[in-house]
């Protein structure tokens, strides 16, 4: 078995493990210290939150959840702030014109369910397609694939994804991954950094398929190492076959939590409890249960199976409860679950998965000026699109969860529609039958999703579960009390709150705290929740090393 070093310790690695996975398996959940000296570990597990930063072979600020383990690496826990590596010669100054230019007919951003199917259908129609993804293994969140060497596909979901990825590879779609798309300045002007080099991309059509990330859940203790999103825990398991701890609590809202609890249990975890914020299958939701069954019998059945499977494993499922606090105890994390009557249940676990819904990753669409509207039921922005998935910016299409949550099957259908249409715009023949079928499927998937939401409907707590010292901005460590103080004089705009508190100025670039703040300002000041309510999206859309941005040449 091979190893890397972490803080003087030998960490064993299994094939397919990320740095974060190998460290978690070795019991190392605290990966760095913040400015205030608080320990942090993996939160989002998908490259968004920037909380799992470590130093790898002297290079600071590497996301442990995104970097593959390799024998011989030296990984160190990062104190705040990090230390930049010494070097005496910078690259010769360049201009944007010196960057290599790529001119695919169709650029697809995001390699999840929506992006893969968009790329594939456009390619089938004969278009020249470039697909970009931040992760090295395509598949996105729903189809997240087992990393190479970690084992065979786990289930139907992964096999379906593997087949789709294989089809895309075989089709001749060009794939650039892992690659950070950090600049979106016009429908035909993008910048991407791949393998320490930056490219200017001038596509003729663009399909955005950027997916979603999980919402923050600001309660006391939510930033402790070991508390992570359900998606992060699922990635550890599904991609790296790693359980971050033995005793696991899963708390949240929505079916993903039930699925992940079962997966982890099947993988050998001791699921101490599952907490679901929705009221549970009672009379009130019977109607939506029925609608669910009618719109997608197979999936509805699978949902019921998830609940039964938990029962079968003897796992306690607490409906209508929410996680309201986490504390570091002597023997583990102590979580408090509270029901509607205010009664508390205390649970001890070594790791906690929190899955309280998603925010669409719409930064690129918004940076391009595509119109968005607030969807009251979904609680987030949705992208305004035509039936062909085109945004209000001509030649820019958007599909999947990034446009407003819709689920993977819908994303796949939307991808098909966008791919076929975009290729048609380039003069390629349009497969009318496939288009009609995709539209029919999409209708069904949307009906299903709608019913699903009604079933899992639960009140949004906003910041009401925070105590004075709960962090409302993880990155800049802004407490609820500091936010309250900033809001106490005048009715500051979101930009002014940002300047007063530094909320949104951190490494996640406001992805975690932005939506929270928008909702809070709407609640406390009556501000509208439209697209202008959010932090203005500006490049870089992901943090990128300066040397990489200005590198036009060969890889380092």
């Amino acid at each position: 078995m091979s190893h890397f070093r972490f803080e003087g310790r030998e960490i064993s690695i299994r094939p397919g493990q990320t740095i974060a996975a190998a460290l978690a398996e070795a019991g190392e959940l605290a990966l760095r210290d913040t400015r205030s000296g608080a320990p942090r570990g993996v939160w989002c597990g998908m490259g968004v939150c920037q909380d799992c930063l470590v130093t790898i072979d002297g290079e600071e600020n590497m996301r442990a959840c995104m970097v593959k383990s390799a024998p011989g690496l030296t990984v160190t826990r990062q104190a705040f702030p990090g230390q930049t590596a010494a070097r005496s010669i910078g690259a010769k100054p360049i201009t944007a014109g010196d960057l290599q230019e790529l001119t695919p007919e169709i650029l697809v951003i995001g390699g999840g369910a929506g992006g893969l199917s968009a790329a594939l259908s456009a390619r089938f129609a004969g278009a020249d397609v470039l697909l970009i993804d931040e992760r090295s293994v395509a598949g996105g969140q729903y189809y997240k694939q087992t990393a190479e060497g970690a084992g065979p596909p786990l289930d139907r979901q992964q096999r379906e994804g593997a087949a789709l990825v294989a089809d895309v590879m075989a089709s001749g779609v060009q794939i650039m991954a892992p690659a950070d798309l950090w600049g979106a300045y016009a429908a035909d002007l993008f910048f991407v950094t791949h393998n320490h080099q930056t490219y200017r991309i001038k596509p003729r059509q663009v399909i955005l398929a950027t997916g979603a990330y999980e919402r923050p859940w600001p309660v006391p203790g939510w930033t402790l190492p070991g508390v992570m999103t359900t998606g992060a825990m699922q990635t550890l398991w599904r991609s790296s076959r790693t359980l971050p701890a033995k005793r696991i609590l899963v708390a949240g809202n929505g079916p993903l939590n039930l699925q992940v609890a079962n997966e982890l249990a099947a993988g050998g975890a001791n699921i101490v409890a599952v907490s679901e914020a929705a009221a549970g299958p009672g009379l009130r939701t019977l109607g939506s249960g029925l609608a669910l069954a009618l719109s997608g019998p197979a999936l509805a059945l699978e949902g019921a199976k998830l609940v039964l499977a938990l029962k079968g494993r003897g796992i306690a499922l607490h409906w209508a409860t929410r996680l309201v606090a986490v504390e570091q105890g002597l023997t583990g994390l102590r979580a408090t679950l509270r029901n509607q009557l205010g009664q508390d249940i205390f649970v001890e676990a070594d790791a906690i998965a929190l899955g309280y819904g998603f925010s669409p990753a719409n930064e690129i669409a918004r940076a391009l000026g595509a119109e968005h509207r607030h969807d009251h039921d979904k609680g987030h922005l949705v992208c305004v699109r035509t039936a062909e998935m085109e945004t209000t910016v001509p030649n820019v299409f958007a599909v999947g969860d990034g446009c407003g949550l819709g689920g993977a099957p819908a994303a796949r259908s939307e991808g098909l529609i966008a791919g076929i249409t975009a290729a048609g715009r380039l003069g390629r023949s349009v497969n009318v039958t496939a288009l009609a079928a995709a539209n029919a499927d999409l209708k069904r998937h949307r009906r299903f999703q709608k019913a699903l939401w009604r079933l899992f409907d639960a009140p949004e707590p906003g910041l009401s579960l925070c105590s004075a010292d709960t962090l409302v901005c993880r990155c800049e460590e802004v407490t609820k009390a500091a936010l309250d103080a900033a809001l106490a004089d005048g009715s500051p705009s979101i930009a002014e709150v940002k300047r007063r508190t530094r909320m949104g100025m951190g490494r996640c670039q406001g992805r975690n705290c932005g939506p929270l703040l928008v909702a809070h300002l709407a609640e406390t000041q009556g501000r509208p929740m439209d697209e202008h309510a959010y932090f203005a999206p500006r490049g870089p859309l992901k943090p990128v090393a300066i040397g990489d941005i200005v590198s036009a040449g060969k890889p380092r």
Binding site: S88, T95, G490, S493, I546
Partner: protein, 379 residues
């Protein structure tokens, strides 16, 4: 919020100059209302560099204005002094540091240009020194191999504008000044020895009117038929994530557009006047990728260790340009109306210009011959 119907002074513009003017006027015992649109303040977007030596960007771009610049030069060390005084008065830590400022040269020709510039500056009373590469590396080992030498200006420095603006805003509010933000001025009229200000939140009468609206000043003075050719210049800025102390000084370049510095909290702020543009119906200042790449490329060339540091934000801010000099004093032909727009490096000048404006309004000596700063020069 609703506006008071009557007040001693209305200051239009809540940037560094407007707030500083309001603070001084309220210390003098006047009732002050500050009205601000809440968009496009240079004060909110600037880099927090305290400039003293003549910026090479300015010398290159506007050679015809060098005379103006030299006339104003003695203001800059004083302006830094005003910032230090403000920090003491407010008992606020806004990471103000008189770290010294370096203007680097990459070859003998640039070094000679700086040497000549330093001689003129020294004659005007600035504390500047020329450093050969070996002397330079002793105090600034973070500079790259490409750097040949530098001019050091001892009194330059930096501060964190977000902290400074917040501290000033709180102090001004505590003194009883009313600040109306997100308020748009629609008309200005002279009425019975005073002024009527019409806004999106209603009308207010005042005895004294101060126009301190940065780039928006010209549009306001036009209501009173006074020409002030302020131009809004959108500029590009970058900031990295925090790192350990690396760059001690304010760093500029003799021949290229760059300012570089590290904030107390560890982030490196990179700017230097690269252009941005106005976009859309709201004329929102928007980043140009060419500026981002050019500016960063130069930054890692000057300080190679920046290469591995990640950029986390860029933004575009609106700078005010006019003719390099302050526009400061009575508004020609309008009793009890005044204007206060800082000259180049306006954030540095902000608190000083505010104090001077308040002195002029109170009939005190502003401590500098401000006649050349009169708006009558544009008539």
């Amino acid at each position: 919020m609703s506006l008071p119907s009557d007040i001693d002074v209305v200051v239009i513009g809540g940037g560094i100059v407007g707030l500083s003017t309001a603070r001084a006027l309220s210390t003098d015992g006047r009732g002050v209302l500050v009205i601000d649109e809440g968009r496009n303040a240079g004060t909110n977007a600037n880099a927090g560099s305290l400039h003293v030596q003549m910026q090479s960007r300015f010398l290159r771009m506007y050679p015809d204005q060098i005379g103006n610049l030299e006339y104003s030069l003695p203001l800059y060390p004083r302006a830094v002094g005003a910032w230090q005084q403000l920090a003491r008065d407010l008992k606020a830590d806004f990471e103000l540091k008189i770290s010294g400022g370096l203007m680097v040269a990459e070859d003998a020709a640039q070094f000679a240009f700086l040497k000549e510039k330093a001689e003129r500056e020294r004659a005007l009373g600035l504390d500047v020194h020329m450093l050969e590469r070996n002397e330079l590396m002793a105090i600034a080992p973070y500079l790259g191999d490409a750097i040949y030498g530098a001019e050091l200006c001892v009194t330059e420095g930096k501060l964190n504008p977000l902290l400074a603006n917040s501290a000033l805003r709180r102090a001004v509010l505590a003194q009883g000044v009313v600040i109306a933000t997100e308020t748009i001025v629609s008309a200005l009229e002279q009425r019975d020895a005073g002024y009527l200000v019409s806004t999106s939140r209603g009308q207010v009468r005042c005895k004294t009117l101060v126009l301190a609206a940065g780039a928006g000043t010209g549009a306001l003075s036009a209501h009173l038929s006074v020409v002030i050719p302020t131009v809004a210049e959108p500029l590009h800025m970058n900031v990295t994530e925090a790192t350990s102390p690396l760059i001690l000084h304010l760093v500029q370049h003799a021949d290229r557009m760059i300012t570089l510095k590290q904030l107390g909290a560890g982030q490196v702020v990179i700017g230097g006047g690269w252009p941005a543009r106005f976009e859309g119906p709201q004329a929102f200042p928007t980043v140009e990728p060419d500026s981002l790449i050019g500016n960063l490329s130069l930054a890692q060339h000057v300080v190679p260790r920046l290469s591995r540091l990640r950029l986390i934000r860029t933004w575009a801010g609106v700078n005010t340009t006019c003719d390099g000099q302050c526009v400061l004093g009575a508004l020609p032909g309008h009793a009890n109306a005044f204007v206060a727009v800082p000259g180049d490096a306006g954030y540095t000048l902000g608190p000083l210009v505010g104090d001077m404006a308040a002195a002029i309004i109170a009939g005190r000596d502003p401590g500098f011959d401000v006649r050349p700063f009169s708006a009558s020069r544009f008539a």
